[in-house]
Subunit: 258 residues, 2 copies
């Protein structure tokens, strides 16, 4: 059973930060390579208007679907028409109260936000280093790490907060008061702490790199990604979760209350 | 054109160290999960005696083959029977003098060495955290990063050293004197410097992690991986390259001398 203790959820989200930072730094070792994102230039026969990036995320998600990745609530794909799992996987019971976890899926927004942010992450000359395959491979890994963090936060933080003030949230949901719900799931001091911590980690992780052989990324870039994409989309996911949550009466009936 | 300047090759290999370290640390966030490596327990229908790890590396390499990864000399796969590329990729010309780069392929040895080393990397309780899919996903990424480093070193260092002393190497190769060749490609002081640097990086990269939420790995484990697997297999690859190198007379005829 996944915990609903808000401190433990926050700890898990904190532990995912280094994974996201590692994957961004690894992507930043390659040039921006804009041709890898250009529609119709994937180099794949019969791929029509797709870019190489489009092809990579499609292939990756089809493979991951075969491995049953998307049975895990916080693993949400970009595509909705993926093949069924080819593997029987044992999943932990979940305390979530939602019938279709894909209603919380904000991965398409993560992808478009990440791609818009990429020129700042890979701000180097020359613009093209020929490493298109490696670039999109690392993009997809970074996007998956970000999506895991966003959806884990959205699902478990929202359920935890709901249970901590279920009467309040039930009332606001019944009234459809999105603004009031957003105020009640926002903790500015927590967000500030995350931004400061992530910035520091970006610098510490790169403290000893030899910049003659490896590119250093600016902590401001990752800070902005957290502030402008990861945190807002986590809250957007929380809102979607709450608006799609089963009525309170059913709480705990399907998967047990912790 | 890829360089044959030994200092630039060494710099590239140094720049790959953080990528390997990142991927090992990310894998170490999961338990050892021995069931993910047990033959016949992949959970895939019709997968016979394969483990989940076996299935993952097969799927990954089939996907990467479609993306033309294995046209790049330093990207050597575990499997020899992969489908042809589905993508037309432009490759840089190479200064290598070998007809079949797969004769240098030591990825099967990297895989078995990595798997033997895994229990030390993931030395945590409980032994199984249920995250089998994530574990093997990260294994494959770590193996690919290691294989890229090993084969890049094997191919380009060997060609560079050959050109630096082509008469000596031609004579030793003609005599089949493997021991003497090994002596002439070994630089103990360079190996010591790599081991020290990698150890320090493992600690610096993890300097600020919160061990309440994220597992720290011991630099000794990565040092041993370099000393016992990465460096010896790079030299094994160098030997294979030299013994399969085209005769000196052809040098530069196919791809130009830098």
């Amino acid at each position: 059973m996944v915990t609903l203790d808000l401190n433990l959820i926050a700890a898990h989200l904190e532990g995912l930060e280094e994974t996201i930072i590692h994957k961004l730094i690894d992507r930043a070792q390659f040039a921006p390579n804009p041709n890898a994102y250009r529609p119709g230039e994937s180099g794949f026969r019969g791929a029509g208007g797709k870019s190489l990036f489009d092809m990579r995320i499609r292939y990756q998600e089809e493979m991951d679907a075969a491995f049953a990745r998307y049975l895990v609530p916080e693993e949400r794909p970009m595509h909705r028409d993926l093949p069924p799992p080819r593997r029987e996987a044992q999943l932990s019971p979940t305390p979530l109260e939602i019938d279709d976890v894909d209603r919380v899926n904000v991965t398409p927004q993560i992808v478009s936000g990440y791609l818009a942010f990429l020129p700042r992450l890979c701000d180097v000359e020359p613009e093209d280093d020929g490493q298109h395959g490696s670039s999109v491979e690392h993009d997809v890994l970074a996007i998956q790490a970000i999506a895991r963090r966003v959806h884990y936060g959205a699902l478990y933080v929202a359920e935890s907060k709901y249970r901590g003030a279920s009467e309040l949230f039930a009332r606001l949901l019944a009234a459809g008061d999105r603004e009031a719900i957003l105020r009640n799931i926002t903790r500015p001091e927590v967000e500030e702490r995350i931004l400061l911590r992530v910035s520091q980690k970006v610098d510490y992780v790169q403290a000893t790199i030899n910049t003659a052989v490896r590119r250093r990324i600016d902590h401001e870039v990752v800070l902005d990604l957290y502030r402008d994409l990861i945190i807002p989309l986590t809250k957007e996911g929380e809102l979607r979760y709450l608006f799609n949550r089963r009525p309170t009466g059913n709480s705990g009936s399907r998967s047990g209350t912790p």
